[in-house]
């Protein structure tokens, strides 16, 4: 029962706001948020904001994964490269995302490029570092087994290193996407005129707390949907099936 705790929270909210007669400029009622939701759905602004945000996250994440996985595997194969780059990757993993917004806007200007860069950046370092860890966790005997069955370098990569590192790659994508999602909202507050972050930020100027809260709900729900509809099924059909992780 995933939905029940969230509904409980809404119930508390529905009781508390009228009970204490909270000023709508401080926090909106459930009804006001519902009205704001219907309005933004009807006039098409919601779909425009959500579409812009998802496109940026999707593109930045895709570029991040496509570049980080090969690099992570290369690091995992070469001990020297890994030893040299590991401290750098740890450093940049912590720094990933939001901290890059100011310099990204200097490089790419305000808009699409800067935001995609921030997303890419949030995903890239985390995924690369986790891929490296994943390659290192593959037992030596499994690599030896592949070699003694005739696997060359390319087959070792595609048949052993990539699937063997997948549990960690998926963990990396999950963590990275979490950073990316937060980074996205922050970047959109500063560097654009469309998107969920922008929607929150503009609403603030007009004291429209119901729009802000609705936007926050959309941000949270979208993340849960991405997690449930994309990441969890991906894990279930691969690494859980293979017994490489256990579902908590």
């Amino acid at each position: 029962m995933f939905v029940a705790p969230l509904l409980a929270l809404v119930a508390v909210w529905a009781v508390v706001v009228p009970l204490f007669q909270i000023n709508p400029r401080v926090f909106p009622s459930v009804g006001a948020v519902g009205t704001a939701a219907l309005e933004s759905i009807r006039d098409g602004t919601l779909i425009a904001h959500v579409g812009a945000s998802l496109l940026r996250v999707g593109l930045g994440t895709l570029i991040g994964i496509v570049t980080a996985v090969p690099l992570g595997i290369a690091m995992g194969v070469s001990a020297g490269v890994a030893a040299f780059l590991t401290p750098l990757f740890r450093f940049f993993s912590v720094l990933a995302g939001i901290a890059w917004i100011p310099i990204a806007t200097l490089w790419f200007g305000y808009g699409f490029g800067a935001i995609v860069f921030v997303i890419f950046n949030a995903v890239f370092f985390v995924v690369a570092y986790n891929t490296l860890l994943g390659v290192k966790t593959i037992p030596h005997t499994v690599r030896n087994a592949a070699a003694s069955l005739g696997a060359g370098r390319w087959a070792l990569l595609t048949e052993v290193l990539l699937p063997g590192a997948l549990p960690n790659i998926v963990t990396g994508i999950r963590t990275g996407l979490g950073f990316a999602w937060r980074g996205l909202i922050a970047a959109e507050m500063i560097a654009t005129n469309v998107g969920l972050g922008y929607m929150l930020f503009v609403a603030r100027d007009f004291y429209r707390t119901e729009v802000i809260v609705f936007g926050m709900i959309v941000i949270g729900v979208l993340w849960l949907l991405i997690d449930r509809l994309v990441l969890v099924p991906l894990e279930r059909s691969t690494i859980e099936r293979w017994g490489m992780v256990r579902r908590a």
Partner: protein, 252 residues
């Protein structure tokens, strides 16, 4: 006809803890005939796994040579199949794809390698498990997959590194009986590493006793086949051979 030939094989490596060079294998010479089943038995640290790893090409050797059908061995290769103590199956592949991996690496088309894999799975009584993943199988079944995965590649020599050491005692006896049956059917050339004297004698045509990196002695085993534990536990010749090998191993 001899297939595998070790000549004055030696392995020395630097031990960073001891701060000195350590010789794990001294001057080992051994010929293995085609279709022969040779057990190499010895206590921990006698160098038996080191020898196997050198034949497999996983580690370089520091002296002497290893010849397979007259050609020196360099690095791992499909003509030397390996069965690992830890099974070393690919968790992300089904049992069928694990067994078909060697043929896949040789470029055998999908339909043909599935046919080969199914044939070998049937040999090990595993046909029902073809579409399962290794983690869904018991240890004994996983190692059956490990054995036929190596065999399905038709290696010139099958190298087995204490393959049954990590399964329970009852399963181990079943696996040993199955291995002798499969050997009789297919006649692969086998080098089988173990520290278990009864296992070494039960399986082999010849037992090589190793101690401190040298071959101490060799014992031919002419017990009739098929070999089954129920028969052999009370067999005088089996008991005599086992006692003799055990004596050598303990004195080693």
């Amino acid at each position: 006809m001899k297939t595998l030939s070790l000549r004055n094989l030696a392995k020395t490596y630097f031990d960073p803890y001891a701060g000195a060079h350590v010789t794990a294998v001294h001057d080992v010479s051994l010929d293995v005939q085609q279709g022969e089943f040779v057990s190499v038995v010895g206590p921990s640290g006698c160098g038996k796994t080191t020898i196997l790893n050198m034949i497999a090409g996983f580690i370089p050797y520091s002296g002497g040579e290893i010849l397979l059908d007259g050609k020196p061995v360099v690095g791992p290769g499909p003509e030397r199949g390996v069965v690992f103590q830890s099974f070393a199956l690919f968790p992300w592949k089904t049992v069928l794809d694990n067994v078909g991996f060697g043929p896949k690496m040789r470029g055998v088309p999908k339909a043909e390698r599935d046919r080969i894999a199914r044939e070998y799975l049937a040999l090990a009584g595993l046909s029902h498990a073809a579409n399962r993943y290794p983690n869904e199988l018991s240890g004994g079944m996983q190692q059956r997959v490990g054995v036929v995965r190596a065999l399905a590649n038709n290696p010139a020599v099958l190298l087995m590194d204490e393959p049954f050491a990590s399964v329970d005692a009852q399963t181990r006896m079943t696996l040993q009986e199955e291995l002798t049956r499969i050997w009789q059917e297919r006649r692969p050339t086998v080098v089988f590493i173990t520290h278990d004297v009864a296992e070494a004698v039960f399986l082999a045509n010849r037992v090589v006793v190793l101690s401190k990196g040298r071959i101490l002695d060799q014992v031919d085993v002419d017990l009739r086949r098929p070999r089954v534990w129920d028969d052999l536990v009370n067999d005088d010749e089996f008991k005599r051979l086992s006692a003799r090998v055990l004596q050598m191993v303990r004195a080693a």
